[in-house]
């Protein structure tokens, strides 16, 4: 067992104990130290989870029972409108939808108030085979996210019109630029070489303009797998 394998096991299962791990730890003080740190963290996590999270007791948007029939009628109307909208807009059904779903799964990504450090940006790009030519003080969120079988950089870039989410999809080819609208978000998928870039904005953000900029600022590195 090498240090990488030991770190993986200690981070995933801090109380794991296998013959190979114990043998490695005998001669590796840094992994031994990591085990102690991970066990301490694990104890804290258990304490943290002993209580429910601090969350609002009532959802503000939750309709009262008396309004539910009206809400249902409104929902039907909205659904019909949505069908018409879908027919008109014709979003890239699968990829665009998955991009939206992914961003919705990380709601806190929109909320960052401070730009992330160069190390975090580098971490998000690491292994994705991406070079990025963007001023780091505009990037408010940077994660390496599992998306369609690959880790992809998920960035939130601050613009004059608010934050814009950018997913750099090296492995997703789109033949042409496609705009879409879903769940209050406007997005665009643009091709970049053999991959693509997805940009999502809320409100008045101009996803198309940001995507155009990103096409100039993102480069796929040849050595990435």
């Amino acid at each position: 067992m090498n240090c990488g394998e030991a770190r993986l096991l200690l981070g995933a299962e801090p109380h794991a104990s296998t013959a190979q791990l114990e043998e490695h730890l005998k001669g590796c003080p840094s992994c031994q130290r990591l085990r102690e740190e991970m066990r301490a963290l694990d104890a804290d996590i258990r304490r943290a989870l002993e209580q429910p999270p601090l969350i609002p007791a009532v959802r503000a948007a939750r309709p009262s029972t008396a309004w539910r029939p009206w809400a249902l009628a409104a929902s039907v109307l909205l659904a019909l409108t949505a069908v018409l909208a879908v027919w008109v807009v014709r979003p890239s059904a699968t990829l665009a939808h998955e991009v939206v779903a992914h961003v919705q799964a990380e709601p806190d990504s929109w909320l960052a108030k401070e730009h992330v450090g160069a190390g975090d940006i580098s971490g998000a790009l690491k292994g994705a085979g991406v070079a990025l030519n963007v001023s780091s003080d505009r990037i408010m969120y940077a994660q390496s996210c599992w998306f369609r079988g690959h880790y992809v950089p998920h960035l939130v870039v601050q613009t004059d019109k608010g934050p814009a989410t950018v997913l750099l999809l090296r492995h997703e080819h789109v033949p042409m630029r496609r705009s879409f609208h879903e769940d209050g978000m406007s997005g665009v998928l643009v091709p970049l070489g053999s991959g693509s870039i997805a940009v999502l904005t809320r409100g008045s953000g101009d996803a198309g303009a940001i995507a155009h900029q990103m096409q100039q600022q993102v480069h796929w590195l040849p050595q990435a797998s």
Partner: protein
């Protein structure tokens, strides 16, 4: 070894939204031993659902629906000592099902942090408070296996089966979950584990 019964619902036809399911499922008989057992586990299920959904009302809905489903499928529970794990898997799937249908109303985390009335567990700035916030901010793909492991007591192999991942992928996600928590709590990141995550 914990027995996690395969749920019939996995292969059942597409189901209706929650509200209509509730109307057509029989309510658990809380006078029966199984019904009482299920009810005794409700607080654990609710806590698990709240950490998953990050929304108290939604978590209550999920647990209620899960208990109704569990009651309907109670014949599949062969070993009552495995009831907690079995119910947790139902809650997880119910959350995933709602999540996929995009029924989640997103909770602004700023609101979450500010909403401390009635639960003054620790002071803002304390290590535990920071860690609880960090767990809330973990992306679902990391939070879910961590909750299954820590709250559910599931092994890596059991989590892999539940999430349809390889055990290596689960190890990677658990490693990254703790690594992200370390960083969010101010500790240096551990060098990333070897990439081995492959969805199965």
């Amino acid at each position: 070894m914990r027995i996690i019964a395969a749920l019939a619902m996995r292969n059942s036809p597409p189901e209706s939204p929650v509200s209509s399911i509730r109307e057509r499922l029989p309510a658990p008989d809380t006078r029966s031993p199984v019904g009482q057992l299920f009810e005794s586990l409700r607080p654990d299920l609710l806590r698990f659902a709240q950490w998953l959904a990050r929304d108290r009302a939604l978590a209550e809905d999920i647990v209620q629906e899960s208990l109704l489903r569990a009651w309907r499928s109670r014949e599949a529970l062969k070993d009552l000592s495995a009831a907690r794990a079995w119910l947790l898997t139902i809650v997880r799937r119910e959350h995933a099902r709602l999540y996929e249908r995009k029924r989640l109303e997103l909770v602004p985390l700023d609101e979450v942090v500010d909403s401390r009335a009635g639960a003054p567990l620790e002071e803002p700035g304390s290590e535990l408070f920071t860690l609880r916030q960090a767990i809330m901010r973990l992306p679902i793909e990391y939070r879910e296996p961590l909750l299954l492991q820590v709250l559910g007591g599931f092994s890596t192999e059991e989590i892999a089966r539940e999430l349809a991942l390889t055990p290596t992928a689960v190890l990677t996600r658990l490693f990254r979950a703790r690594n992200k928590l370390r960083v969010m709590c101010g500790s240096p990141a551990v060098p990333d584990a070897p990439d081995g995550e492959v969805l199965s």
